[in-house]
Amino acid sequence: MTSDTRAGWRPVTEAVGSVRAMKAVFLRDLKAAFRQRQDLLNPLLFFIMVVTLFPLGVSPEVSFLQQAGSGILWVAALLSVLLSLDHLFRHDYDDGTLEQLVLQPQPLFLLVLAKVAAHWVLTGLPLVLLAPVLGIMVHLDGNSIGVLCLTLLIGTPVLSLIGAIGAALTLGLRSAGVLLSLLIIPLYIPVLIFGTGTVAAAGDGAPVGGYVALMGAFLVLAVTLAPFASAAALRISLSNA
């Protein structure tokens, strides 16, 4: 204690590396999420319910489901990610951890990237893992299911990354839901079009390499740019708090 306080006015020289700080943020988010598992189930249940209700509500015909199946799964996955977005920063904002995050010496966009990664592991990844089961349910063939999972695997991180920008921007608002959707859905549309397009091409037996490469490009673009935008948006939201 004395040795610590003696150093009262001395500048801190220790610099904790960004990777270690990112790991700490990532693990803390996972840990907090697993303490409240029912919140994790919500997007998954939504995903399952939408996909199971479609055959009941529209048509259980095999030909219809094969045609529409990949689209249904993609739309359901997109909406379920959208539903989970508001939680991304909200809890941290309310309990003050977000202020502490902004005041860490490491670049904020890296810490935001770690948070988004945790968000994807908790919401996007389970959707990808669940997709094959639901794919069988809507009579997709093996090849299409494989491609569908691949597109979801590339596409859902893009959804989380883009969504983080909207979530950060609407943080200071009391009812952010509608505005968040309005801001984010237009940006989700290209991902949706190419995601379902890839699966449709696979169903027709066409090569999908080009589609997948384009989705990969989306992902690269989102990983490199979205964290900067989210970080800037977080600063603005906190500044107005």
């Binding site: 150093a7 943020v25 840990k31 303490r35 003050g96 951890t97 600063r235």
Partner: protein
Amino acid sequence: MGAELNVHNAGVTPRCSRSGALMSEPLLQAVNLQCERDDRMLFRDLSFSILPGTLTRVEGPNGSGKTTLLRILAGLNDAWSGDLLWFGQPRSYQREEFVRNMLYIGHRPGIKPLLTPMENLRALMAGRKTVSDDLLGQALAGTGLAGFEDVPCRRLSAGQQRRVALARLLIADEPLWILDEVFTAIDIDGVAALETLLVQRARDGGAIVVTTHHDLQLPSMQRITLGAGDDF
């Protein structure tokens, strides 16, 4: 480039070569600060220096902008004009250097209700300093949380949750502390211990800025009074 070089000069070298001079060099200097919020002027032409080894209390009635001023000083609020100098250089050029040397505890202390005090403290320290779990445990025990290390914070009382955040003060290296309403929800013994800690810290050369409605029994204090001007 030039600013970066100066940071190093101010930050590391002088304490060996001219530490006496540094003791009187302000850590943080505000020049003609002005802040307007919701069309109301909270303060203007506010100038002061935060020197090492001093305790500064920001005073004023509710809504006079105490928290806003502290958030501006901490770098959380950008809606201000004027100059803020960190070791004589504009702070905006040296953000990383500044946040590494500043500890801020706000109204919302950054404690996750789902995590235990130990996990919370570990996460809060993770980006700043390598701390062993032993030391974290000692800090929690030092704030009277021994035995509560592994209880989720939402089961703790408001005062105990504040104490988790305050445990950081026991292991903090940062020369500048900015503490908003730090005595809220803390019991009498806790307040006394915290006062002792702050006095000791200032005596050892740390600089502390606080807002509080609690009547502080501290010997020497710089006071910044807000809301006493034209508005009231």
